[in-house]
Every structure is written in C-alpha cells, then in structure tokens.
Symmetry: C2
Subunit: 418 residues, 2 copies
Amino acid sequence: MKVGILTIGNELTSGKTQDTNSSYIARELVQRGWQMAGTLSVGDDDEAIKDGLDYILSRADAVIVTGGLGPTVDDITTAAIARAYNRKLFTDEATLNHIKERFERAKLNWTNNNAKQAEFPEGAEVIPNPAGTAAGFALKVGDKLITVIPGVPMEARRMLTEGVIPVLIKAFPEEPHHLERRIIKTFGLAEAAVDQKVADIDLASLGVGIGFYPNFPEIQVVLTIRDADEAKAKKNLKQAEDQVVSRLKDHIFGYDQDTLEGVCAALLTEKKRTLAVAESLTGGFLTDRLTDIPGSSVYLERGVVTYSNASKTDLLGVPAEIINEFGAVSAETARLMAEGVRKLGKTDIGISTTGIAGPTGGTEKKPVGTVFIALADKDKTYCRQYGYRWDRRRIKMITTQALLLMLKRYLTGELTDE
Amino acid sequence: MKVGILTIGNELTSGKTQDTNSSYIARELVQRGWQMAGTLSVGDDDEAIKDGLDYILSRADAVIVTGGLGPTVDDITTAAIARAYNRKLFTDEATLNHIKERFERAKLNWTNNNAKQAEFPEGAEVIPNPAGTAAGFALKVGDKLITVIPGVPMEARRMLTEGVIPVLIKAFPEEPHHLERRIIKTFGLAEAAVDQKVADIDLASLGVGIGFYPNFPEIQVVLTIRDADEAKAKKNLKQAEDQVVSRLKDHIFGYDQDTLEGVCAALLTEKKRTLAVAESLTGGFLTDRLTDIPGSSVYLERGVVTYSNASKTDLLGVPAEIINEFGAVSAETARLMAEGVRKLGKTDIGISTTGIAGPTGGTEKKPVGTVFIALADKDKTYCRQYGYRWDRRRIKMITTQALLLMLKRYLTGELTDE
C-alpha cells in the first residue's frame, strides 16, 4: 500500500511553524512496511486543499491529512474536504459532548464556534482525540481513503497510532505478514560511527532491515523484518538484535519506547535507591527530566539549582576556597556538589553538573562547552569531563543525557573509574 | 510572485531526516512579500521529480528545489530535471575546478563520480556553492523559473540568500510593495476565545490580515499588511495592533521574537531584581526555562526542587505542621515556599509551584491538575490556584507559563490581588 501525507496550514507554508508531524508519520508507516508517495504542504485554502488531495490520491491509496481542525475561521480542513467530495456536514453528538466536558472541566467559557469541531463530512468515521478537542475522521472516497488528524504534534502522534493506522489496516487488508520491529537507543556515538560499527553484520540474509535515526542527542537503530511466518520473523530479529547489541553495548541505554530518564527511574525504584540532584550548568533540566516520570517522588528527594557561588556553599557545603582556587567549573567543585547534595539530602546517590553553556563566559583553558558531571555514593565519587561544541540549549541537553547514562551505568554496576 | 518548494530525497519522504530547509526558505520569501504556493517532498525518483515540478509550476511562477545534488548514484536531481525538459548536460569548467580545489585542500582522493557535480542542464545559470562542492543552478522554462540548491542546511541557507533570491528578483521584477508584520503573543485564553475577542475589529478596511497560531501553551496572533506605500502600511498596522492589544491586554506577554522567559529576564535585569525559585510540581522546568537565557546568573540566585516534604522543611523552612494540616499541595504551602526560598536565597523575589501532575495522586477535592503558584517579595505574597486538564508534561509546561506571566506582571506593576 502507498500512502501520502498532506499537511495543511498557512503557518506551515509560510515557514512560521516547523512541521514535525510528517517525518514522524512517514517513519511509523515505513517501519510497518508501507510505501510513501510523498508529502505535500498547502495553506488554509479551499482550492489548494482540494487540489492537493487530488494530486496525492492520484499517486497513493490513502492520504493522511494533518492540521486545520481548530475552532477558528481559518481552520477549514473539514469543510474543504466536505466540499471537495460533495458531502454535507453532520454533528457527532459524542464528540460534541466530549468537547463540552473538556471545557467544563477546564473552567473555560463555551463559545458556539467550538461546536464546529464536532462536525464531519457525511459518511466519515470519527477518530476520537483522547488528548484534545479536535477529533479526526476517516472518509472513504471511491477506492481511496482520506484520514484526517489535528496538527498539534502530541495529539497527532497518539491519534496516528490509536486511530489512523488501525483504520488503514482495516481498509487495506494486506497479504498476511508479521511486522516485527526493535528500536535500539544509543547515546555517545555519531551516526556514521554507529553505522560503521555494525556495517559488516550480515542482516540481509536474516531478512532484517536496518535504519539509523538521529534524534538529538540520541541515535536510534531500528531493525525491522516482515515475514508470513511470525515465529521465524521473531527468531531472525532476535538474532540480528543480539549481534547489533554486542557491537554497540556501552552506548545503549534502552529499547523501543524507553527513555533514559524512564530507565533510570525504573532502576532506582527497583533497587530502592534515593537520589538528590545538584545542577549548575543544566539549570534544572536534569531534575525536570527525572520528574517527567510519574512516581518520581519515590526516589527523588530534592534537586537544587545552585547558579550562584553562594548557593553552592549554602545549599551544598562546597567551601568558598575550593570555588576560588579551582573555579565553579571544575572537577573539584563538581565532586563536592554531588557529595554535598547527597549528604544534605540524606540520599543513597548524589549527582551534579557544572560547566559553561555559553554563548559567553568561556576562556582559553575552559572554552564554552566545558562540562563536568559527577556521581557520589557513600563510598566513592565518579567524575567525567566533556567538551561539547553546540549551542546553549543543546549543551544543557547533552549534559543531562551524559549524566543520566552515568547514573544508569552506576545502577547496573557497569560504571568504572575512567 | 508566487513560489513553491520541492524537496527531494528518500531520507525526507521516509521520515529519516527532518526537513528544516523548506520552513527556512518559506520564511525568508514571505518576509520579502512573496506568496508561497506550498511545499512538496518527493523521493529520489525520476518520475516523481518531473511530476512534482509540473504540479508546483502549474501553481507558481518559480520553484526552489533542494537536495539530490551529491556525487552518488542516488543523487539524480540534475539529470531528472534535464530529462524532464529535454536538455542535454554540459560541464561547467569553473565549477569543476572549484570542486577539485576543495578536494586538494581537504586532502581527499579524487574519484571521477565527483565530476558529476559540475554538470548542469543546457541553458542553466550556475549558482556557486561557497561552502561545499554541490553547486546549484537556475533554469528558465517558458515563463517559469526553476532554481536548484543542495539539501545540506548550512549550504542551502547561504545559497538561498546569495544566489537564489537575487536570481528571483532579476527574473520577476515586481511592483514595489512593503510587507509589515507584527506577532502578538498571548497566554491564558483558548484559541477560539482569542479569535472571538477580536472578531468584530474591522481589520479588512485597514488592509490588515490576521492569523492565530497556537504554540502550546501560547496563542500567537499575527497581523500582516502589504502595501506599495510603506508609511501607510506601517500606520495601518499600528492602528490594527492597538485595537487588538486593547482587547487582549491582560493576556499578552510579548511581541515578535519575544519568549516569556526572555521578557522576564530582561525585566529582572533592567530593574536589578534578584530571584529564587522553589519548585515542586514543575520539577525544575521553570528554572530550566529561566537558565536558557544567556546571562541568567545575574538575577537567578538559586532554584530548589523540593519534591519530598522533608526538603520543603529543610530547604525552605515550611513547617511540617503546615504541610500536615493543609497538605503539600495547598495555598498555604505554596505561599510559604515562595517566602522561604526568597528569605534563604536573600533575593528580592521568591516564586513557587506546587500541585498534582498525575496521572495518579489526585483526590476528589484535589484532582490531578490542581496547581498553586505563588510570588513573594519583602512586603507581600501573591497566590493563585488553577485546575488544568492536560497530561503530566503539559501541566508542568502550562504551570511554568502561568508563573512566568505572574512574574512579568509583578515586575511591570500590573499584578493585583485576585
């Protein structure tokens, strides 16, 4: 089956908003073994929408449309599709109630234009939106299928998996096959280096495909196999995975839906260890990631963002003389930060970051991107230094990743002295 | 003039690489007052490229093509365009020499496939690549113009400005006009409510267009005008802006390139006020946002993430009895957190968040999404309660936004007791 993507919105064609939906959608479909006909982006314009649908549907079996499902006058996707295929609009009561309930719960004032979001072209099947007010729909036109979801990425992604893909499978039942997929998540190697480390593994004879997807600061390695024989597919995929994992071992932090913070959270919970965090460079980003995991209060005792030197002394007990002698950005300070926060938080583990995020503040000896991270338990303190060449945000991001990987390796007993 | 974009590459249609060129190109062109016909993305396929060019050129005066100019066999853009319009290829000697020189300087071995990058369709004007080996070109086809640049973002951006835009201006000398644009950034109203508040303003008679761009948790209102008379365009836009601003006043946090954290940072710096942050619910996210602004160490003394009750007592001096009586999620605790962090950080202002991010931990009286934020100075403490219906991440996100808006309003003297 061949699928095209149509993204709708003046904010996309004018370059105001960066579309991230279409690459996500394409990846999900390609990994399921479907072919892509291409992606077209047009403005909130009746004619352009009809035209774009014609273009894609003359080259594909189905189209996934995103965007233009909001309640305002410039959101015209539903109406434009209805007009393009001569359908009237109907109001779906279940959707209308769902929207009204969301308004009530959020204590927002109801205005009648919001009812527009419960209207669909006749003959359409509603695709519910569990995360927002803009429901989607699927509409069969001849032997082609049009599916429509909102442009908000968080909602689009969930509705793709839960709504669109099942509808596509139902509408285009394929020859029986099993798709097996394994995502191996790595950090610390460039894409070319990951590629090179696994290049000579004979995956082709196993029928396994491989792809590399950079997702800063990670590189994801995706293995896929399609086969009529499910047991064989699983076996071959496992064999491929074992070989790839053995080559990338030290850089792997998780699989499939894992996040590095989620892996750390699970290990801390399982091993009943408590954690305290002292951040300078990363400014709260590390604690923010850890607290994105539900239940983080079980192991996270405290986090401190000690941006001033005084707060490093006050909240962590780092002696002012150490900061004066070695600098706030130094292995000595990083170590004492991790040890201090652990002691004061009375936790099993303390972790810390310090560094220069830029764009100013660098020196010849310690340029922008100089980073120290440390981890302390009651017996020992581990410290690493890095030199990153990114912008401020990405230096913060990659540092949180490096420290979480250090924590994971500590918890699994793999962390060694440098 | 109307321009379309065609991006070429299997890595784009399969979702392996996120295309960032087209939004950049669109932005640059729209700001020059040109209209966008849309963006199409197709694979490295002869037929799809010809087809895509036809589609765009039937709707636009010119097309900007990116990608597929490399030396390898799957880079077929130049050859596909030549075939599509029955042109032979010629070798441009200046380009060939430029490529050979780059190889010599980088001490790379010359292989003959690289000469492909000096070939162009007959009649094309070469667009040099100052930053790489893949030169681009412009080809007039009837009254339409095809321009082609490489997909590497750094090279594409430079060649767009230095090569493509001058060629477009030369080919389509336009009637003089001026484009003026104003972005008004709001928070705290749903998109439909923003729309409704400004719906009866007669922008049409001023020649001003309006658009709404949700960028969670903000809604951006964009006003644009195109006119031959620059003074008139500026005057009418200002008049439109004044009316829109008067309707949305309390919810506006910035304009154009402003971020809420950037606005707060500028106000704190300008007014020489210092800040300490106590986060429970938001888990470091608020401090992370504040430290994304270079120079934040000037006003940010410390942040603490007091996830445990013990840390709220230890680091903020919130009495255990208060937490026991009113709960960690309460106005009383939020107030004492803001007051405590201000006092211990010896800063002018203290701010705090507490709440239930979910998915579990809610009660009937305090469901998931119950949030308290507070701001304390030496004289007074302000506190607000909200009930949000989002997922964990977005509850954290919207709470940081609410508190930063409170901070901004405090710093501009607009914050009142509820």
